[in-house]
């Protein structure tokens, strides 16, 4: 499953990393406590969160997440978006809730 297919299916917008959307994704973690996400997001995971600050990019980079979905209509800060572009992190977002996103991802077989 590629990030591009996920973005299309879940109707998500790209804040950063659209050029990298061919990347594969496998597995998913949902959580907003960054210190916990640091140890729980596995390589190539989709990470769903409502956090929007620059630390999200740091955790995604550290955990080698495939992409980050910012749920519930939350919008990342400009510095977060800039840093994501710089670090090659795919940052997606939309009105979808974490639950609905997870259900859709599960149906897609992620």
């Amino acid at each position: 499953m590629t990030v591009s297919e996920i973005a299309k299916k879940l109707n998500l917008a790209y804040y950063a990393g659209e050029n990298l959307s061919g990347k594969n994704a496998k597995g998913c973690y949902i959580g907003d406590l960054l210190s916990l996400a640091m140890s729980r997001v596995m390589a190539d995971n989709v990470w769903i969160t409502i956090q929007t600050n620059i630390n999200v990019v740091a955790v995604a980079s550290l955990a080698e997440a495939s992409c980050v979905i910012v749920a519930d209509g939350c919008v990342p800060d400009d510095t977060t978006i800039e840093k994501a572009k710089e670090q090659g992190i795919i940052l997606l977002g939309g009105e979808i809730s974490a639950f609905d996103a997870a259900v859709a991802l599960s149906e897609m077989g992620i």
């Binding site: 406590l33 960054l34 210190s35 620059i54 630390n55 740091a58 980079s61 550290l62 840093k83 670090q87």
Partner: protein, 183 residues
């Protein structure tokens, strides 16, 4: 980090890495001001002005094993999530002061956590460092200076079983007394 004590442990580790010989941990819970203030002060190597500016950026770390350092950024986030703030003062060769202010009654404020266990761990892991620990809850205060304990003990290490157990009880009792309901 789910408890503020874990943040404190993390920041104190920075002081240890900065080769501090004296570390002050000062916690003040003030109901009237509705603030919980944590101050960690050390006499370690300090940071250059240039690095100090970057320290809240998670991509600025002195660590060489990976490119991301999240200790300070996560503490800043935890404080700001409760309407508080984080401030760092540092001078090269003199030391660093980290001050985190939390909204005491804010719903997103994490619990303080196990301070007795945290300080016990630090006292016994770094016996050569002098720790000054102060915890204030409104009018009540609990204060420990490891130098005073060291003076009494002489060469007996904190890790000696009897000392360790005494220290553990002493810290637990001190913390418990602070949290007893005021009449």
């Amino acid at each position: 980090m789910r408890e503020i004590s874990l943040h404190i442990l993390d920041i104190v580790q920075n002081s240890v890495v900065a080769k501090a010989t004296e570390i002050e941990v000062d916690i003040c819970e003030d109901k009237k001001l509705d603030k919980l203030t944590v101050v960690i002060r050390d006499n370690g190597c300090g940071m250059s002005e240039e690095f100090l500016k970057k320290v809240i950026d998670p991509f600025a770390t002195k660590r060489t094993t990976r490119k991301v350092g999240l200790g300070i950024p996560l503490l800043k986030m935890a404080a700001e999530n409760t309407g508080g703030s984080l401030e760092i003062q540092s001078k090269e060769g003199e030391g660093t002061v980290v001050t985190a202010v939390f909204g005491l009654s804010h719903i997103d404020r994490q619990p303080l956590g196990d301070m007795a266990g945290t300080m016990l761990g630090l006292f016994t892991a770094y016996e050569d460092i002098r720790f000054l620990y102060k915890h204030k809850v409104n009018e009540k205060e609990f204060f420990v200076d490891t130098k005073e304990i060291r003076n009494v003990l002489g060469d007996v290490p904190f890790q000696a079983p009897e000392v360790y157990l005494w220290l553990s009880d002493f810290l637990k009792e001190g913390e418990e007394e602070l949290n007893q309901m005021e009449v």
